[in-house]
Symmetry: C2
DNA sequence: AGGCTAGACTTACGGTGTAAGTCCGTCAAG
DNA sequence: CTTGACGGACTTACACCGTAAGTCTAGCCT
Protein backbone atom coordinates (compact mmCIF):
# COMPACT_ATOMS: atom_id res chain seq x y z
CA UNK A 1 0.00 0.00 0.00
CA UNK A 2 2.32 2.70 -1.17
CA UNK A 3 1.69 6.35 -0.43
CA UNK A 4 -0.68 7.07 -3.30
CA UNK A 5 1.17 8.66 -6.14
CA UNK A 6 -0.55 10.47 -8.98
CA UNK A 7 -0.31 8.66 -12.31
CA UNK A 8 2.70 9.37 -14.48
CA UNK A 9 2.10 11.27 -17.68
CA UNK A 10 4.14 13.07 -20.30
CA UNK A 11 3.24 16.40 -18.76
CA UNK A 12 4.23 15.33 -15.25
CA UNK A 13 7.51 13.87 -16.52
CA UNK A 14 8.40 17.02 -18.42
CA UNK A 15 7.41 19.26 -15.52
CA UNK A 16 9.60 17.28 -13.13
CA UNK A 17 12.46 17.36 -15.61
CA UNK A 18 12.17 21.14 -15.82
CA UNK A 19 12.26 21.50 -12.06
CA UNK A 20 15.27 19.21 -11.92
CA UNK A 21 17.03 21.20 -14.65
CA UNK A 22 16.29 24.43 -12.82
CA UNK A 23 18.04 23.04 -9.76
CA UNK A 24 20.90 20.99 -11.18
CA UNK A 25 21.30 22.25 -14.73
CA UNK A 26 20.62 20.41 -17.95
CA UNK A 27 23.37 17.88 -17.30
CA UNK A 28 21.65 16.93 -14.05
CA UNK A 29 18.63 15.67 -15.91
CA UNK A 30 19.42 11.98 -16.12
CA UNK A 31 16.74 9.41 -16.58
CA UNK A 32 17.54 7.84 -13.23
CA UNK A 33 17.60 11.06 -11.27
CA UNK A 34 14.36 12.15 -12.88
CA UNK A 35 12.76 8.83 -12.11
CA UNK A 36 13.84 8.99 -8.48
CA UNK A 37 12.33 12.43 -8.16
CA UNK A 38 9.07 11.02 -9.44
CA UNK A 39 9.26 8.01 -7.09
CA UNK A 40 9.64 5.65 -10.01
CA UNK A 41 12.24 3.60 -11.83
CA UNK A 42 14.16 4.96 -14.80
CA UNK A 43 12.69 2.71 -17.45
CA UNK A 44 9.16 3.67 -16.53
CA UNK A 45 9.75 7.06 -18.05
CA UNK A 46 10.00 5.48 -21.45
CA UNK A 47 6.30 4.76 -21.38
CA UNK A 48 5.64 8.48 -21.62
CA UNK A 49 8.66 9.83 -23.42
CA UNK A 50 10.42 8.38 -26.44
CA UNK A 51 13.86 8.95 -24.96
CA UNK A 52 16.08 11.63 -23.57
CA UNK A 53 16.05 13.69 -26.75
CA UNK A 54 12.27 13.68 -26.86
CA UNK A 55 12.24 14.72 -23.22
CA UNK A 56 14.51 17.68 -23.93
CA UNK A 57 12.34 18.64 -26.90
CA UNK A 58 9.34 18.66 -24.61
CA UNK A 59 11.12 20.79 -22.04
CA UNK A 60 12.08 23.42 -24.58
CA UNK A 61 8.58 23.51 -25.95
CA UNK A 62 7.21 23.89 -22.44
CA UNK A 63 9.43 26.91 -21.88
CA UNK A 64 7.93 28.52 -24.98
CA UNK A 65 4.56 27.66 -23.57
CA UNK A 66 5.34 29.91 -20.61
CA UNK A 67 5.82 32.93 -22.84
CA UNK A 68 2.71 35.01 -23.06
CA UNK A 69 1.60 35.44 -26.63
CA UNK A 70 1.47 38.93 -28.10
CA UNK A 71 -2.01 40.22 -28.73
CA UNK A 72 -2.61 41.44 -32.24
CA UNK A 73 -4.77 44.37 -31.27
CA UNK A 74 -2.23 46.42 -29.39
CA UNK A 75 0.34 48.68 -30.97
CA UNK A 76 2.88 46.38 -32.61
CA UNK A 77 5.83 47.99 -30.89
CA UNK A 78 4.35 47.51 -27.45
CA UNK A 79 3.38 43.97 -28.36
CA UNK A 80 6.93 43.19 -29.42
CA UNK A 81 8.35 44.80 -26.33
CA UNK A 82 6.05 42.82 -24.04
CA UNK A 83 6.81 39.63 -25.82
CA UNK A 84 10.54 40.23 -25.63
CA UNK A 85 10.31 40.86 -21.90
CA UNK A 86 8.18 37.77 -21.37
CA UNK A 87 10.53 35.63 -23.46
CA UNK A 88 13.59 36.88 -21.67
CA UNK A 89 11.97 36.24 -18.31
CA UNK A 90 11.11 32.68 -19.28
CA UNK A 91 14.59 31.97 -20.59
CA UNK A 92 16.16 33.40 -17.46
CA UNK A 93 13.80 31.35 -15.31
CA UNK A 94 15.06 28.24 -17.11
CA UNK A 95 18.69 29.00 -17.98
CA UNK A 96 19.23 25.60 -19.53
CA UNK A 97 16.70 26.31 -22.28
CA UNK A 98 18.97 28.46 -24.44
CA UNK A 99 21.63 25.80 -24.55
CA UNK A 100 19.05 23.25 -25.58
CA UNK A 101 17.50 25.37 -28.30
CA UNK A 102 20.17 24.73 -30.85
CA UNK A 103 20.64 21.01 -31.52
CA UNK A 104 16.85 20.67 -31.44
CA UNK A 105 15.51 21.01 -34.98
CA UNK A 106 11.90 19.94 -34.71
CA UNK A 107 9.79 22.79 -33.32
CA UNK A 108 7.01 21.78 -30.93
CA UNK A 109 3.46 23.10 -30.96
CA UNK A 110 4.09 25.86 -28.41
CA UNK A 111 6.94 27.20 -30.51
CA UNK A 112 4.81 27.17 -33.63
CA UNK A 113 1.95 28.86 -31.82
CA UNK A 114 4.30 31.47 -30.47
CA UNK A 115 5.89 32.22 -33.83
CA UNK A 116 2.50 32.42 -35.44
CA UNK A 117 1.27 34.92 -32.88
CA UNK A 118 4.33 37.12 -33.32
CA UNK A 119 3.91 37.15 -37.06
CA UNK A 120 0.24 37.94 -36.60
CA UNK A 121 0.99 40.90 -34.37
CA UNK A 122 3.42 42.27 -36.92
CA UNK A 123 1.03 41.74 -39.83
CA UNK A 124 -1.83 43.55 -38.14
CA UNK A 125 0.68 46.23 -37.20
CA UNK A 126 1.06 47.00 -40.86
CA UNK A 127 4.03 44.87 -41.86
CA UNK A 128 4.07 43.09 -45.19
CA UNK A 129 4.89 39.42 -45.20
CA UNK A 130 8.46 40.10 -46.26
CA UNK A 131 8.97 42.91 -43.76
CA UNK A 132 7.41 40.85 -40.99
CA UNK A 133 9.92 38.11 -41.75
CA UNK A 134 12.73 40.62 -41.53
CA UNK A 135 11.46 42.07 -38.28
CA UNK A 136 10.89 38.67 -36.76
CA UNK A 137 14.40 37.59 -37.62
CA UNK A 138 16.13 40.65 -36.16
CA UNK A 139 14.12 40.78 -32.99
CA UNK A 140 14.40 37.10 -32.22
CA UNK A 141 18.07 36.92 -33.06
CA UNK A 142 18.75 39.82 -30.76
CA UNK A 143 16.60 38.37 -28.03
CA UNK A 144 18.16 34.92 -28.00
CA UNK A 145 21.66 36.26 -28.47
CA UNK A 146 21.32 38.70 -25.63
CA UNK A 147 19.95 36.16 -23.20
CA UNK A 148 22.65 33.74 -24.21
CA UNK A 149 25.37 36.24 -23.42
CA UNK A 150 23.62 37.37 -20.29
CA UNK A 151 23.41 33.83 -18.98
CA UNK A 152 27.01 32.99 -19.76
CA UNK A 153 28.31 35.86 -17.70
CA UNK A 154 30.08 34.51 -14.63
CA UNK A 155 28.15 36.79 -12.32
CA UNK A 156 24.54 37.60 -11.58
CA UNK A 157 24.44 40.66 -9.38
CA UNK A 158 26.38 43.90 -9.46
CA UNK A 159 28.08 42.89 -6.23
CA UNK A 160 29.39 39.71 -7.80
CA UNK A 161 30.57 41.71 -10.77
CA UNK A 162 32.69 43.86 -8.47
CA UNK A 163 34.36 40.84 -7.00
CA UNK A 164 34.94 38.98 -10.22
CA UNK A 165 36.10 42.04 -12.12
CA UNK A 166 38.75 42.62 -9.48
CA UNK A 167 40.00 39.07 -9.85
CA UNK A 168 40.11 39.31 -13.64
CA UNK A 169 41.89 42.62 -13.69
CA UNK A 170 44.56 41.46 -11.28
CA UNK A 171 44.97 38.18 -13.14
CA UNK A 172 45.84 39.46 -16.57
CA UNK A 173 48.56 41.94 -17.47
CA UNK A 174 47.07 45.38 -17.22
CA UNK A 175 48.06 46.50 -20.70
CA UNK A 176 47.26 43.32 -22.61
CA UNK A 177 43.65 44.26 -23.24
CA UNK A 178 43.55 48.03 -22.84
CA UNK A 179 40.05 48.66 -24.12
CA UNK A 180 38.63 45.80 -22.14
CA UNK A 181 40.16 47.05 -18.91
CA UNK A 182 38.99 50.54 -19.75
CA UNK A 183 35.47 49.24 -20.20
CA UNK A 184 35.55 47.42 -16.89
CA UNK A 185 37.16 50.10 -14.77
CA UNK A 186 35.52 53.17 -16.27
CA UNK A 187 32.12 51.76 -17.03
CA UNK A 188 31.13 48.37 -15.68
CA UNK A 189 32.38 49.04 -12.17
CA UNK A 190 30.54 52.33 -11.88
CA UNK A 191 27.82 52.06 -9.26
CA UNK A 192 24.45 51.26 -10.73
CA UNK A 193 25.74 49.44 -13.77
CA UNK A 194 23.90 46.25 -14.69
CA UNK A 195 24.48 44.38 -17.90
CA UNK A 196 20.77 43.63 -17.92
CA UNK A 197 20.12 47.30 -18.67
CA UNK A 198 21.81 46.88 -22.03
CA UNK A 199 18.83 44.85 -23.14
CA UNK A 200 16.57 47.86 -23.24
CA UNK A 201 19.01 49.90 -25.30
CA UNK A 202 19.37 47.31 -28.04
CA UNK A 203 15.70 46.44 -28.13
CA UNK A 204 14.65 50.07 -28.50
CA UNK A 205 17.29 50.62 -31.14
CA UNK A 206 15.93 47.75 -33.19
CA UNK A 207 12.25 48.49 -32.69
CA UNK A 208 12.70 52.16 -33.54
CA UNK A 209 14.49 51.24 -36.73
CA UNK A 210 11.68 48.98 -37.89
CA UNK A 211 8.72 50.44 -39.75
CA UNK A 212 5.50 48.98 -41.10
CA UNK A 213 5.48 49.09 -44.87
CA UNK A 214 1.79 48.61 -45.58
CA UNK A 215 -0.78 51.37 -45.36
CA UNK A 216 -3.72 49.12 -44.58
CA UNK A 217 -3.12 49.06 -40.82
CA UNK A 218 -6.73 48.97 -39.60
CA UNK A 219 -7.05 50.65 -36.23
CA UNK A 220 -4.13 52.03 -34.31
CA UNK A 221 -1.78 53.32 -36.98
CA UNK A 222 0.01 56.48 -35.99
CA UNK A 223 0.82 58.57 -39.05
CA UNK A 224 4.35 59.76 -39.58
CA UNK A 225 5.94 56.49 -38.60
CA UNK A 226 6.34 55.01 -42.03
CA UNK A 227 9.63 55.20 -43.91
CA UNK A 228 8.26 55.66 -47.40
CA UNK B 1 59.67 1.09 -33.81
CA UNK B 2 56.24 2.54 -34.21
CA UNK B 3 55.32 4.71 -37.20
CA UNK B 4 56.74 7.95 -35.85
CA UNK B 5 53.99 10.10 -34.42
CA UNK B 6 54.44 13.75 -33.58
CA UNK B 7 54.42 14.51 -29.86
CA UNK B 8 51.07 15.18 -28.24
CA UNK B 9 50.38 18.71 -27.07
CA UNK B 10 47.43 20.79 -25.96
CA UNK B 11 47.25 22.40 -29.37
CA UNK B 12 47.27 19.11 -31.23
CA UNK B 13 44.64 17.65 -28.92
CA UNK B 14 42.34 20.63 -29.37
CA UNK B 15 42.86 20.73 -33.12
CA UNK B 16 41.97 17.05 -33.41
CA UNK B 17 38.94 17.55 -31.20
CA UNK B 18 37.74 20.35 -33.45
CA UNK B 19 38.12 18.20 -36.54
CA UNK B 20 36.26 15.41 -34.81
CA UNK B 21 33.48 17.78 -33.76
CA UNK B 22 33.20 19.11 -37.29
CA UNK B 23 32.62 15.57 -38.52
CA UNK B 24 30.56 13.97 -35.78
CA UNK B 25 29.17 16.88 -33.80
CA UNK B 26 29.98 17.92 -30.26
CA UNK B 27 28.54 14.73 -28.80
CA UNK B 28 30.96 12.72 -30.91
CA UNK B 29 33.90 14.22 -29.08
CA UNK B 30 34.54 11.52 -26.50
CA UNK B 31 37.89 11.10 -24.88
CA UNK B 32 38.27 7.64 -26.33
CA UNK B 33 37.30 8.57 -29.87
CA UNK B 34 39.59 11.58 -29.74
CA UNK B 35 42.43 9.46 -28.45
CA UNK B 36 41.94 6.88 -31.19
CA UNK B 37 42.07 9.60 -33.81
CA UNK B 38 45.39 10.69 -32.35
CA UNK B 39 46.70 7.14 -32.22
CA UNK B 40 46.79 7.19 -28.45
CA UNK B 41 44.89 5.94 -25.42
CA UNK B 42 42.19 7.99 -23.74
CA UNK B 43 43.96 8.69 -20.49
CA UNK B 44 46.98 10.10 -22.27
CA UNK B 45 44.94 13.14 -23.18
CA UNK B 46 44.77 14.10 -19.52
CA UNK B 47 48.45 14.96 -19.61
CA UNK B 48 47.61 17.90 -21.85
CA UNK B 49 44.06 18.80 -20.95
CA UNK B 50 42.53 19.03 -17.50
CA UNK B 51 39.39 17.18 -18.50
CA UNK B 52 36.58 17.26 -21.00
CA UNK B 53 35.32 20.66 -19.90
CA UNK B 54 38.76 22.17 -20.29
CA UNK B 55 38.96 20.61 -23.72
CA UNK B 56 35.67 22.18 -24.77
CA UNK B 57 36.83 25.54 -23.40
CA UNK B 58 39.90 25.27 -25.55
CA UNK B 59 37.86 24.39 -28.63
CA UNK B 60 35.59 27.41 -28.23
CA UNK B 61 38.54 29.69 -27.72
CA UNK B 62 40.19 28.26 -30.81
CA UNK B 63 37.10 29.11 -32.85
CA UNK B 64 37.38 32.70 -31.70
CA UNK B 65 41.01 32.54 -32.71
CA UNK B 66 39.88 31.90 -36.27
CA UNK B 67 37.95 35.15 -36.41
CA UNK B 68 39.96 37.90 -37.99
CA UNK B 69 40.28 40.86 -35.68
CA UNK B 70 38.84 44.20 -36.77
CA UNK B 71 41.45 46.81 -37.59
CA UNK B 72 41.00 50.06 -35.75
CA UNK B 73 42.04 52.27 -38.61
CA UNK B 74 39.21 51.53 -40.99
CA UNK B 75 35.76 53.05 -40.84
CA UNK B 76 34.06 51.55 -37.80
CA UNK B 77 31.00 50.42 -39.70
CA UNK B 78 33.04 48.53 -42.24
CA UNK B 79 35.14 47.06 -39.45
CA UNK B 80 32.04 45.82 -37.65
CA UNK B 81 30.61 44.43 -40.86
CA UNK B 82 33.78 42.54 -41.69
CA UNK B 83 34.05 41.19 -38.20
CA UNK B 84 30.44 40.05 -38.21
CA UNK B 85 30.97 38.23 -41.49
CA UNK B 86 34.15 36.62 -40.24
CA UNK B 87 32.51 35.57 -36.99
CA UNK B 88 29.53 34.13 -38.72
CA UNK B 89 31.75 32.22 -41.11
CA UNK B 90 33.75 30.75 -38.25
CA UNK B 91 30.65 29.74 -36.33
CA UNK B 92 29.16 28.14 -39.43
CA UNK B 93 32.41 26.33 -40.09
CA UNK B 94 32.18 24.85 -36.58
CA UNK B 95 28.45 24.51 -35.90
CA UNK B 96 29.02 22.96 -32.49
CA UNK B 97 30.63 26.14 -31.18
CA UNK B 98 27.43 28.08 -30.59
CA UNK B 99 25.98 25.33 -28.46
CA UNK B 100 29.16 25.24 -26.42
CA UNK B 101 29.36 28.97 -25.89
CA UNK B 102 26.81 29.10 -23.17
CA UNK B 103 27.68 26.85 -20.22
CA UNK B 104 31.29 28.03 -20.61
CA UNK B 105 31.85 30.98 -18.31
CA UNK B 106 35.62 31.46 -18.32
CA UNK B 107 36.64 33.31 -21.48
CA UNK B 108 39.91 32.21 -23.05
CA UNK B 109 42.66 34.48 -24.34
CA UNK B 110 41.41 34.51 -27.94
CA UNK B 111 37.99 35.65 -26.79
CA UNK B 112 39.48 38.42 -24.68
CA UNK B 113 41.72 39.52 -27.52
CA UNK B 114 38.77 39.54 -29.87
CA UNK B 115 36.54 41.55 -27.56
CA UNK B 116 39.33 43.99 -26.92
CA UNK B 117 39.88 44.54 -30.62
CA UNK B 118 36.17 45.15 -31.23
CA UNK B 119 36.00 47.69 -28.46
CA UNK B 120 39.12 49.33 -29.82
CA UNK B 121 37.62 49.66 -33.28
CA UNK B 122 34.51 51.27 -31.85
CA UNK B 123 36.49 53.63 -29.62
CA UNK B 124 38.64 54.89 -32.44
CA UNK B 125 35.47 55.16 -34.50
CA UNK B 126 34.31 57.84 -32.11
CA UNK B 127 32.26 55.88 -29.62
CA UNK B 128 32.43 56.74 -25.93
CA UNK B 129 33.07 53.93 -23.50
CA UNK B 130 29.40 53.69 -22.61
CA UNK B 131 28.23 53.84 -26.21
CA UNK B 132 30.84 51.30 -27.27
CA UNK B 133 29.49 48.95 -24.61
CA UNK B 134 25.99 49.45 -25.97
CA UNK B 135 27.07 48.89 -29.54
CA UNK B 136 29.10 45.84 -28.66
CA UNK B 137 26.18 44.31 -26.82
CA UNK B 138 23.66 44.81 -29.62
CA UNK B 139 25.89 43.68 -32.41
CA UNK B 140 27.17 40.59 -30.65
CA UNK B 141 23.76 39.59 -29.38
CA UNK B 142 22.35 39.85 -32.87
CA UNK B 143 25.29 37.99 -34.35
CA UNK B 144 25.17 35.02 -32.00
CA UNK B 145 21.41 34.89 -31.98
CA UNK B 146 21.20 34.89 -35.73
CA UNK B 147 23.77 32.18 -36.19
CA UNK B 148 22.11 30.12 -33.52
CA UNK B 149 18.76 30.29 -35.30
CA UNK B 150 20.37 29.76 -38.66
CA UNK B 151 22.12 26.61 -37.49
CA UNK B 152 19.06 25.14 -35.84
CA UNK B 153 17.04 25.30 -39.03
CA UNK B 154 16.37 21.78 -40.27
CA UNK B 155 17.59 22.64 -43.76
CA UNK B 156 20.67 24.10 -45.37
CA UNK B 157 19.89 24.83 -48.99
CA UNK B 158 16.86 26.35 -50.66
CA UNK B 159 16.14 22.99 -52.24
CA UNK B 160 15.95 21.32 -48.87
CA UNK B 161 13.68 24.09 -47.68
CA UNK B 162 11.24 23.30 -50.48
CA UNK B 163 11.09 19.68 -49.46
CA UNK B 164 10.82 20.25 -45.73
CA UNK B 165 8.31 23.04 -46.03
CA UNK B 166 6.05 20.78 -48.02
CA UNK B 167 6.21 18.12 -45.33
CA UNK B 168 5.49 20.62 -42.57
CA UNK B 169 2.58 22.22 -44.32
CA UNK B 170 0.93 18.90 -45.06
CA UNK B 171 1.56 17.69 -41.52
CA UNK B 172 -0.23 20.39 -39.58
CA UNK B 173 -3.79 21.60 -40.05
CA UNK B 174 -3.70 24.33 -42.62
CA UNK B 175 -5.53 26.90 -40.54
CA UNK B 176 -3.89 26.26 -37.18
CA UNK B 177 -1.03 28.65 -37.81
CA UNK B 178 -2.32 30.99 -40.50
CA UNK B 179 0.45 33.55 -40.41
CA UNK B 180 3.13 30.92 -40.33
CA UNK B 181 1.70 29.16 -43.37
CA UNK B 182 1.32 32.50 -45.09
CA UNK B 183 4.97 33.24 -44.44
CA UNK B 184 6.06 29.91 -45.81
CA UNK B 185 3.87 29.79 -48.88
CA UNK B 186 3.98 33.43 -49.89
CA UNK B 187 7.52 34.24 -48.92
CA UNK B 188 9.91 31.48 -47.98
CA UNK B 189 9.02 29.26 -50.90
CA UNK B 190 9.45 32.02 -53.46
CA UNK B 191 12.43 31.23 -55.69
CA UNK B 192 15.59 32.91 -54.57
CA UNK B 193 14.69 33.07 -50.90
CA UNK B 194 17.48 32.20 -48.47
CA UNK B 195 17.22 32.71 -44.75
CA UNK B 196 20.89 33.64 -44.80
CA UNK B 197 19.95 36.85 -46.62
CA UNK B 198 18.10 38.02 -43.53
CA UNK B 199 21.45 38.48 -41.84
CA UNK B 200 22.35 41.44 -43.99
CA UNK B 201 19.04 43.19 -43.32
CA UNK B 202 19.32 43.00 -39.56
CA UNK B 203 22.97 43.86 -39.46
CA UNK B 204 22.49 46.97 -41.59
CA UNK B 205 19.50 47.99 -39.55
CA UNK B 206 21.53 47.85 -36.37
CA UNK B 207 24.68 49.45 -37.74
CA UNK B 208 22.74 52.30 -39.33
CA UNK B 209 21.02 52.99 -36.04
CA UNK B 210 24.28 53.27 -34.14
CA UNK B 211 26.14 56.56 -34.05
CA UNK B 212 29.45 57.64 -32.55
CA UNK B 213 28.87 60.08 -29.73
CA UNK B 214 32.34 61.61 -29.40
CA UNK B 215 33.67 64.34 -31.64
CA UNK B 216 37.32 63.45 -31.25
CA UNK B 217 37.37 60.82 -33.97
CA UNK B 218 40.85 61.40 -35.34
CA UNK B 219 41.02 60.57 -39.04
CA UNK B 220 38.13 59.17 -41.00
CA UNK B 221 35.11 60.82 -39.42
CA UNK B 222 32.42 61.70 -41.87
CA UNK B 223 30.47 64.73 -40.67
CA UNK B 224 26.72 64.54 -40.54
CA UNK B 225 26.65 61.06 -39.10
CA UNK B 226 26.25 62.01 -35.50
CA UNK B 227 22.86 61.88 -33.85
CA UNK B 228 23.21 64.93 -31.64
C1' DA C 1 -14.97 -14.97 -14.87
C1' DG C 2 -11.62 -14.40 -18.14
C1' DG C 3 -8.47 -12.20 -20.87
C1' DC C 4 -6.20 -8.05 -22.52
C1' DT C 5 -3.43 -4.44 -22.00
C1' DA C 6 -1.14 -0.28 -20.15
C1' DG C 7 2.40 0.73 -17.57
C1' DA C 8 5.82 0.01 -13.86
C1' DC C 9 9.34 -3.01 -13.06
C1' DT C 10 14.18 -5.90 -13.33
C1' DT C 11 18.04 -7.04 -15.72
C1' DA C 12 21.73 -6.32 -18.76
C1' DC C 13 24.84 -4.12 -22.24
C1' DG C 14 27.87 -1.05 -24.28
C1' DG C 15 29.63 3.48 -23.72
C1' DT C 16 31.02 7.62 -20.89
C1' DG C 17 34.51 10.59 -17.98
C1' DT C 18 38.15 10.03 -15.10
C1' DA C 19 40.84 8.51 -10.48
C1' DA C 20 44.69 5.71 -9.49
C1' DG C 21 48.61 3.28 -10.34
C1' DT C 22 52.22 1.21 -13.61
C1' DC C 23 55.85 1.36 -16.73
C1' DC C 24 59.30 2.92 -19.80
C1' DG C 25 62.22 6.08 -22.68
C1' DT C 26 64.79 10.18 -22.29
C1' DC C 27 68.01 13.06 -20.38
C1' DA C 28 71.02 15.33 -16.78
C1' DA C 29 74.29 14.60 -13.08
C1' DG C 30 78.02 12.00 -10.99
C1' DC D 1 79.06 4.64 -18.49
C1' DT D 2 76.02 4.36 -14.71
C1' DT D 3 72.34 5.97 -12.26
C1' DG D 4 68.51 8.47 -10.86
C1' DA D 5 64.59 11.27 -11.76
C1' DC D 6 60.78 12.37 -14.27
C1' DG D 7 57.43 13.41 -18.02
C1' DG D 8 54.14 11.17 -20.41
C1' DA D 9 51.73 7.20 -22.35
C1' DC D 10 49.79 3.31 -20.67
C1' DT D 11 46.38 -0.34 -18.10
C1' DT D 12 42.96 -1.08 -14.97
C1' DA D 13 38.87 -0.05 -12.51
C1' DC D 14 34.67 2.41 -11.06
C1' DA D 15 30.47 4.79 -10.99
C1' DC D 16 27.20 6.45 -13.93
C1' DC D 17 24.87 7.10 -18.35
C1' DG D 18 20.89 5.94 -22.00
C1' DT D 19 18.16 2.35 -23.30
C1' DA D 20 16.89 -2.61 -25.52
C1' DA D 21 14.50 -6.52 -23.98
C1' DG D 22 11.67 -9.04 -21.25
C1' DT D 23 8.62 -9.79 -16.92
C1' DC D 24 4.90 -8.98 -13.88
C1' DT D 25 0.67 -7.12 -12.14
C1' DA D 26 -3.44 -4.18 -11.42
C1' DG D 27 -7.44 -2.63 -13.55
C1' DC D 28 -10.80 -2.54 -17.19
C1' DC D 29 -13.81 -4.45 -20.91
C1' DT D 30 -16.35 -8.08 -22.58
Amino acid sequence: MQTKRPPLSRERVIAAAMALADEKGAAGVTMRALATRLGVEAMSLYNHVAGREDLLDGMVDAVFGEIELPVSTADWKIAMRDRAASSRAALRRHPWAVGLMDSRSQPGPAILRHHDAVLGALRTGGFSVAMAAHAFSVIDSYLYGFVMQELSLPFTSAAELDEIAGDILSDLPADAYPHLTELITKHALKPGYEYADEFEFGLSLILDALHPDEVSSPVTSRPGSRGR
